[in-house]
Structures are given as structure tokens and as C-alpha cells.
């Protein structure tokens, strides 16, 4: 087998032919598709993949420019991405015909063919369309935010043609399914699995929203990816008896500045994936120290009053006994 290869490349040298086989760059971002030619109506999935060239990277951002005149963008999925923290979740801007994304990988990633995101496409018009990757930034996992040098991004050209004509003498109907069935449908199955369980956190910091309490959360969905979050606050103690004081579910992003700053609350965060499946998690927001101090002061006053009342009753009682 090796001899064959050698002979082939020797032939290249002898003939001086300038045909270069496709070779992956050492560090590159590229789009993968099942094939390069489609018929109108075909649906398929494209993947954005990173090859790190032996270096550890931790941050990737950029946009994919899609020729919408030739291809319709169906959806974007990022559940199986090596990126786990999204600063800018992959989203489709139909107006501009682009998918933007920015995210990172704690601990870094070093490997070939690391999936970043997938998106569904449908061939709509005949012709050739060019997909380009723009504003690509890949940062090394070196603690200094160094931009990776020499990252190769290659445009992808796909062609769309009209479906092949039906044969002049069609065989029996069973042998040839309808044209719709013959069209390619390389799309993943529907996402029916909810996001994975996660743990929200409640904290505060002087630099954030004037030291107000906020919730931090990040869920993961292994299929379509997280679409959005909803947050609800349920007051401690009172919430055991009534939901009248619960806040309604509202959409929010991390960090979410909590509405209830003074009272203690159980903060519920509901993560939805892009298919509408959801997972709920909760965290306890403590009473504000001022409220605790107030409670403490009230308790001291109450106990003092109670003590005073008791002492007074005892005093009256002892006086009655003395009178007797």
C-alpha cells in the first residue's frame, strides 16, 4: 500500500502537476457538511469545528456568514460543543444572515475536530453559495489572553441544483418513492431531553449593582443548547403558606439582580433548551443582614417586654399575697 502512495507522489513530482490535495491547517476553523452539492429542498446540517494544532485554547468567538439567498437557516445547536460557557450564545441574525457566537472552555481544549456548534440548512435556490467565517478570535489558554496566531479559516462553497428529473418511463410506484422522500434530510432527531441539573448561586458584591444580591447560573443542555432562563423568587417562611408573595416567572440572564433584596427567598431558576424542555434548580437567598439585625433587635425588645411583663405580674402577685 505504501508503495502505491510513493509511486503516486513520485508521479506528482515528475509531472510537475500543481494540484494540491486538501490538507487541514495546523490550527484552523472550518465548516463541515455532508457534501458540497445539494438539490433544492434538501435539508442538512453543517458543523463549525476547531483544530487547535497542538495548542491549548480556551476562548473562541466569531461569526458565520451564510448565503441566505441560496440557503435557509433552520436552527443552531450547541449542546455538544466543547464550549461550555457562552458569553454570547450562538444566535441567528436573519437580517444579516449570520450566526454569531463567543464562548470559552474552563481548563482549555487541545485537540482536532472539536465541535463548536451545528446549524441546520435548507437549500432554497439554484446556484453556488459561499459561507465565510469572519471576526474569528481564538485565544490561548495561557493566562494572558494571547491571541492564537496563524489560525486558518476557510470559506465553504456549496452548490444547489434543481432536483434530478423523473425518469421518462417510471417504474412501479413502490420502487420509486415520491420526490419529497428522496430529498436528503440529514437533520438530527428532535430534542426531547431537558437540560442537565445545575446549581444556581446567590451572592452580592460591592461592585455589582450597588451591592445588591444577584443570582448566578449556567446550565448545560447536551442537544440543542440552552435558550433562555426564567427566574422566580419565593419568600422564606411566608412561602410555606401562600404563593401570593411569589414573584412571577420572568426571563433573565446571569447575573440576575434579585427583586427581593431584604427578605429571605428561595430563588428558582428554570433553564429552557431550544426545544422547550426545561429544568428547574433553586438557591437560597439569605435575609439581608439589616433585616436580621432588625429581627434581633425586635427579639431583644420583645423578650425585654415579656420579661418586664412577667416581672410586673409577679410583683403584683407578691403584693396580693402580702396583702392577704
Amino acid at each position: 500500500m505504501k508503495k502505491i502512495l510513493r509511486a503516486s507522489y513520485s508521479f506528482l513530482l515528475v509531472a510537475g502537476v500543481a494540484v494540491v490535495p486538501h490538507v487541514a491547517a495546523a490550527q484552523s476553523l472550518f465548516l463541515k457538511v455532508p457534501k458540497t452539492a445539494y438539490e433544492t429542498g434538501d435539508s442538512f446540517q453543517a458543523s463549525l469545528v476547531i483544530e487547535t494544532g497542538g495548542q491549548s485554547i480556551n476562548t473562541v468567538s466569531g461569526l458565520i456568514d451564510i448565503p441566505q439567498d441560496k440557503f435557509q437557516i433552520l436552527d443552531v445547536r450547541y449542546g455538544s460543543s466543547v464550549i461550555t460557557l457562552w458569553v454570547d450564545k450562538p444566535k441567528i441574525d436573519y437580517g444579516r444572515g449570520v450566526i454569531t457566537f463567543a464562548g470559552g472552555i474552563p481548563g482549555g481544549f487541545n485537540g482536532s475536530a472539536g465541535p463548536l456548534l451545528n446549524f441546520g440548512l435548507k437549500a432554497r435556490r439554484v446556484g453556488a453559495g459561499t459561507f465565510t467565517l469572519q471576526d474569528i478570535k481564538v485565544l490561548l489558554n495561557d493566562g494572558q489572553g494571547t491571541e492564537m496566531k496563524g489560525v486558518v479559516v476557510k470559506p465553504l462553497v456549496l452548490s444547489v441544483r434543481t432536483p434530478a428529473p423523473m425518469p421518462l418511463s417510471p417504474p412501479a410506484p413502490q420502487a420509486f418513492p415520491p420526490a419529497e422522500q428522496q430529498q436528503e434530510a440529514s437533520l438530527p432527531p428532535p430534542d426531547i431531553v431537558p437540560p442537565e441539573s445545575f446549581i444556581p448561586m446567590v451572592s452580592r458584591h460591592p461592585s455589582v449593582a450597588d451591592d445588591k444580591y444577584f443570582a448566578s447560573f449556567s446550565a448545560v443542555d447536551k442537544d440543542t443548547g440552552i435558550a433562555y432562563y426564567e427566574i422566580k423568587e419565593k419568600p422564606s417562611l411566608l412561602g410555606r403558606f401562600t404563593d401570593k408573595f411569589d414573584t412571577p416567572w420572568v426571563r433573565g440572564e446571569s447575573p440576575y439582580i434579585l427583586r427581593g433584596q431584604w427578605w429571605g427567598y428561595e430563588v428558582f431558576v428554570r433553564a429552557y433548551d431550544q426545544a422547550g424542555n426545561s429544568t428547574v434548580a433553586s438557591a437560597q437567598k439569605p435575609f439581608h443582614p439589616a433585616v436580621i439585625s432588625l429581627f434581633g433587635a425586635a427579639a431583644v425588645i420583645a423578650s425585654a417586654l415579656a420579661g418586664y411583663g412577667t416581672a410586673r405580674r409577679r410583683s403584683r402577685g407578691s403584693k396580693k399575697i402580702l396583702r392577704r
Binding site: K3, L5, R6, A7, S8, S10, A15, V17, V19, P21, H22, A24, F30, L31, K32, V33, P34, K35, T36, S56, T59, S80, S81, V82, T84, L85, V87, A102, G104, I105, P106, G107, G108, F109, A113, G114, L140, N141, D142, G143, Q144, G145, P177, Q181, Q182, Q183, E184, S186, P189, E196, I199, S203, H205, S207, V208, F214, S216, S218, K222, S254
Partner: protein, 619 residues
């Protein structure tokens, strides 16, 4: 070199010499094309050959090039005819799933195979829905082969694609019908030179753990395992049990193949340890103490020597270097003999109440099948190990006195980014080391030999020129530390860690010029496993000795002391989702109120600061 060209040269030579033997044909023409000078092969011979070449069929336009017109195109030359072999596909049947694996294929004359797609259809011939499995040559974890309907026949093809995702070869179609009587399937690839552990768990609570030692094949080639489990009824139909023996309801088929060509490996060079975990329901009616592992040798069931049963743990352990169908067989329980259940129930009763004694088997709850990732590796004696799953703490562990550690993390199935770091007894943290893991539902994946980077500190942040600066830290005991000093002339040296994992390296600053320098280290264990680099520790050679106040001061931490670690925006000693939230709060802000959010001090909170935070991530 001459030999390389000999085939080509002889081919051209044969063409020239034999030219008169070809007939000059008539030009063909129609209204929209013409073939000029067609060279037809002589009718009397279909091929020409010598000892090292063969010329078959028509030879036209031997130089590469393309002739084209509006209605036709003729291409010639070898590079217009790249080729790739079709993958050969094998299948195994599971409950609602199918396991596929196939031969790795290579492209020639310009094609490079970059990955594979599995095409699935419910009708022979398609249309197929394709799912990429990357460069894997097996289907484990693919949505294409799971979530199937038992009793429905599915048709699969495997398509090789080039590095740009273009399909270049498609296998022959293979049909498979999932069945409830087939429980689980596991396929994959691993190197026979490394130790590995695979646990296959059935929905009925039974499982088998296959522990492969390192060097299970002396050749070190890649091995393709094919594990499957079945109901007893499926197996005993053609493999009848020995007289007087009863079998567990779950039986196993374990096979190994060479990854390169899928040729079955009949026996391994080292024995593999098999641990069967049974449930009471699985061995109902069998006396637990009589259970033993049996293997089908092609004609009968044979007892595997050294089979040990632990009725409390409900396991049977045995070693084997030959593989086929395995089963747990035993003798029937009688009212007078102790059965498997009481011992096990008693053991459980002690810890959780329930079960109870008695001579009859009871239906005690069985542990549910779990999907998990088991990690094992090397750190420092007593080190605290933190395992992160997708950036958040998933498990914690502590290394033993030898620096070995293990941890399990539950998952639900999919692609996960795992990362690990260790904290030594002085409170220094290693860098976080990340790696992706793909795991399918109800499958346990074990990753071993994970080595965390050493910790590093120094006694001075500035050393007076001519004095000595000492670097130190922890690593895997008795391993070699490679210390590298980044200077005008890079210094690389080695030092050996002691039995407690402590290492120390003294450097005379005479060897360095005055100014800023940096040091880092890397571990190499006795097994030649090399760790990632430690963090980079900055120091200065100057006019005075300045001690580090406490702990380390790496050069890549230029922020003011009040910022704590880079990325630790709330100063709680951790870099986690809260810091990420705070950073997002200030995202794209110039001169943020929290100055630490602008880690690189370029005046804006952006991706560069995010990257620095991820570098220091602790979860």
C-alpha cells in the same frame, strides 16, 4: 528512489514501445461533441503486464489535464481519479440500539479521510439520515444507533468523508433489528498498551466490569472491543446449559478485534479481569455460593478457574484471556441450603434496614443502572482533587499517600468537557487541565492515567544577582521534575521529587542576566507519563533579595493585591460562575467599577479578560 519511479517509467516505456500495436481509430463526432484521436486497445489482448506493473484497458492522454466543452468534459491523469476503499461494517444488536463498527479507510491520490457519517433508514436503499461521528470508527454515543424501536428493521450505511465533509466512500448497507432480548452493546477503540476499564450496565441492574491491564497485547496495537449482553433465553437456544446447572438471566458476549482490519483477536497476551455484578432477580433460584463464571468454548460451557463469588457484594470475579460468551451458572437453591439473597440482604440490612433473613430469595431493590465517568490519575500525596464537568464542580476527592486518586462523576450522556485540578498541602493549586469525554446513556466510561501539573512556588520574588533562588512545590512522588527557566538563554534542568511528592530546585542567579524571568515545571513519572506544565512563576534578578510574602506570585498575575487571583472578581478564593456573572455584568464596559474584571488592564472588559479568567478557573 529509483524503485519508486520504476513502475511509472516502465509504464511509459511500455506505452511507447507498444504504440504500433494500438490501432488508430476513427474520429467520432456528433452535433455537439467530437472525439479526436481516440486510442483503442488492441482487440487481442486486454492487458499488458510485467513483474512490477500492469496496464489495463484504454490509455489515453497520459498527461494530466482536462478537455472540456459546453456539453462534455474529459478528465485524465491519476489525480483526477482519487480513490478510497469502502468501510466494512459490522453490527451488534441491543435493546433499542445497535452497535456498529467499521474498518478505518484511507484515501489515495488526493483524498484524505477526515471522519465518518452513519446513515440510517427504515427502508432498504434509503433515503438515509446522516449523523456524524467524527473520526471514530464505531457508533458508541451516536444518536443514529440509539433510541431505536425494537422489532423494527433499520438499514445503515457508513459514509467516509474527506476533511471538508465531502462524502468520498459509502459502505454496503447493513440491516439490523433491535430486540428487547438483547440488552446492551458497547463498542469503542483503545490502545492495548494502556490500561482501561469498561463497565457495561444493563437496565435490570446487572453489570460487567472489564479491566484491561496495560500491555494486554504485546504489539500495542489499537483494539476494538465489542461487548453485548443478552437474555439467557436468547443464548441457551443454541448454547444449552450443562446438566444440573442454572444460569443467570443476563449473559455476555465479549469479543476483541484489531481496529485496523476488524480481524478477531482470539486471545490476549495478558489476562483480563471480569467482574460480574448480579442482582437477586438475575440469579433467582440459584444458590449464591455456587455461582461461577463460565465461558462457551464453541461446543460446551467450561468453568473459568479462579472464579470467586462475593455474595454480599453480589459479584463474581474471574480472569480470562480468551473471549466468547460468558455466563454465571450455579446450582438450584433448596430450602435447606443458604441462598444468594440472605447474605446479601443481611449486608444491606446492616446499612439500610430491610431485606431480612430467611431461606427464600427476596426481591430486594437493585441499584439502578447509572451513567457515569470514572477518573483515575496521579497528583500529590493528600492533595485535594476537584473534578469539573462543563466548568462546574462535579466531584471532589483526595489523593492517597502515594498520590493516586480516583473520582466518579454522574452524567446523563453526551459530550462533556471535564477538567481536573489539585490543591497541595500548602494550599497551592495546580493549573486546571481539561479534556472532552463522550459518553452514551447507561454507559460507564473510565479514564485513567490523568496527571495534574505540579504546583510551583519560590522563596523570593526578586533575587540579588549572584544569590540563589529556590523553587519548590509538589508533584507525583519519586517522579522527575523538568524545570525550565525562561531567560535570554533558556535553562532546562531536572530534579527528582521525594517520596512525599515534594520537589525543590535551587538556581544560582549568576547564570541569569538582571531583569524579569519566569519559571515553570513539568512532571514525568516513572511510567513515562508526562504532565502539563505548571503555571508560570515570574521572578526578578536585581539588586536585592525580596522574599515572597506568602505563597506564590506568578508573573501572569499583574493585578493589584486587592484583586486576589486573576478572574477572582469577588475575592472569595475561587474562580467560578459567580465571577463569570460579575464579568458579564461589566462586559464591554470601559474602566469598570470592579477593576479586577479588566484582568489585562487594557481599559475594557472583553474576551481577553474572559480568557484569563478561564485559565484560572476553579469551579
Amino acid at each position: 528512489m529509483m524503485f519508486r519511479y520504476s513502475g511509472i517509467v516502465l509504464g511509459f516505456f511500455a506505452l511507447v514501445v507498444l504504440w504500433p500495436l494500438f490501432s488508430r481509430a476513427t474520429e467520432y463526432a456528433s452535433t455537439n461533441f467530437r472525439i479526436r484521436d481516440p486510442i483503442l486497445q488492441i482487440a487481442t489482448s486486454t492487458q499488458m503486464s510485467s513483474t512490477n506493473f500492469r496496464l489495463t484497458g484504454v490509455a489515453g492522454q497520459p498527461a494530466i489535464g482536462t478537455s472540456s466543452a459546453t456539453s462534455f468534459r474529459a478528465s485524465s491523469g491519476f489525480l483526477f481519479f482519487p480513490s478510497v476503499a469502502k468501510p466494512t461494517v459490522k453490527k451488534i444488536i441491543g435493546d433499542g440500539e445497535v452497535g456498529l463498527h467499521w474498518t478505518s479507510v484511507s484515501g489515495f491520490l488526493g483524498w484524505t479521510v477526515g471522519g465518518y457519517d452513519i446513515g440510517r433508514a427504515t427502508a432498504s436503499g434509503g433515503p438515509y439520515s446522516y449523523t456524524s461521528v467524527g473520526a471514530h470508527t464505531y457508533s458508541a454515543g451516536s444518536a443514529a444507533t440509539s433510541g431505536l424501536t425494537n422489532g423494527t428493521t433499520y438499514y445503515f450505511v457508513v459514509r467516509a468523508e474527506d476533511i471538508f465533509g465531502n462524502a468520498v466512500a459509502t459502505s454496503s448497507e447493513i440491516a439490523a433489528t433491535p430486540a428487547a432480548s438483547s440488552y446492551r452493546v458497547i463498542t469503542g477503540d483503545f490502545s492495548s498498551s494502556a490500561a482501561s476499564s469498561t463497565n457495561m450496565t444493563q437496565a435490570n441492574g446487572t453489570s460487567i466490569l472489564v479491566d484491561m491491564p496495560a500491555g494486554v497485547l504485546s504489539s500495542g496495537i489499537s483494539i476494538h472491543p465489542e461487548f453485548s449482553s443478552f437474555s439467557k433465553d436468547t443464548v441457551v437456544a443454541d448454547k444449552p446449559l450443562p446438566s444440573g446447572k442454572l444460569g443467570g438471566t443476563t449473559m455476555y458476549e465479549l469479543s476483541f478485534f484489531q481496529t485496523s482490519d476488524l480481524i478477531q483477536i482470539s486471545s490476549l497476551d495478558k489476562a483480563v479481569t471480569l467482574t460480574f455484578h448480579y442482582t437477586d432477580a438475575d440469579v433467582s433460584g440459584i444458590t449464591g455460593s455456587t455461582l461461577a463464571a463460565y465461558r462457551w468454548n464453541g461446543s460446551s460451557w467450561v468453568t473459568l478457574s479462579g472464579s470467586t463469588v462475593d455474595t454480599a457484594a453480589r459479584t463474581v470475579t474471574v480472569t480470562s484471556s480468551s473471549f466468547s460468551t460468558f455466563a454465571l451458572l450455579g446450582t438450584a437453591a433448596s430450602n435447606s441450603s443458604p441462598s444468594a439473597a440472605p447474605a446479601a440482604s443481611a449486608a444491606r440490612g446492616g446499612s439500610g434496614g430491610g431485606g431480612g433473613g430467611g431461606g427464600l430469595l427476596s426481591e430486594t431493590p437493585t441499584s439502578p443502572a447509572t451513567t457515569k465517568v470514572s477518573l483515575k490519575g496521579f497528583a500529590y500525596p493528600g492533595a485535594a482533587i476537584s473534578v469539573l464537568k462543563d466548568g462546574q464542580i462535579a466531584a471532589s476527592s483526595r489523593a492517597d499517600e502515594n498520590g493516586n486518586w480516583s473520582a466518579d462523576a454522574p452524567v446523563s450522556g453526551g459530550v462533556y468537557m471535564f477538567s481536573v485540578y489539585a490543591t497541595d498541602s500548602d494550599g497551592r493549586k495546580s493549573l486546571t487541565y481539561g479534556f472532552p469525554i463522550s459518553v452514551s446513556a447507561l454507559q460507564s466510561v473510565s479514564i485513567s492515567d490523568i496527571i495534574v501539573s505540579p504546583t510551583i512556588g519560590a522563596d523570593k520574588q526578586e533575587v540579588k544577582f549572584g544569590n540563589t533562588i529556590t523553587f519548590f512545590g509538589y508533584t507525583y512522588p519519586a517522579s522527575v521534575l523538568h524545570v525550565m527557566i525562561n531567560s535570554d538563554t533558556e535553562i532546562a534542568d531536572t530534579v527528582k521529587a521525594n517520596a512525599l511528592g515534594r520537589w525543590k530546585y535551587a538556581l544560582n542567579s549568576d547564570n541569569l542576566e538582571k531583569g524579569e524571568h519566569a519559571a515553570k515545571s513539568q512532571t514525568e513519572t516513572a511510567q513515562k507519563i508526562v504532565s502539563p506544565f505548571s503555571e508560570t512563576l515570574g521572578f526578578r534578578v536585581g539588586d536585592a533579595d525580596v522574599a515572597f510574602g506568602a505563597g506564590i506570585r506568578p508573573a501572569s498575575r499583574p493585578l493589584a493585591e486587592r484583586c486576589g487571583k486573576n478572574g477572582d472578581l469577588n475575592n472569595d478564593g475561587k474562580v467560578n460562575i459567580i465571577d463569570f456573572s460579575i464579568m458579564l455584568f461589566f462586559w464591554n464596559q470601559r474602566n469598570p467599577k470592579n477593576a479586577c474584571a479588566d484582568a489585562n488592564r487594557d481599559g475594557i472588559v472583553n474576551l481577553f479578560d474572559f480568557s484569563i479568567m478561564l485559565y484560572w478557573w476553579t469551579g
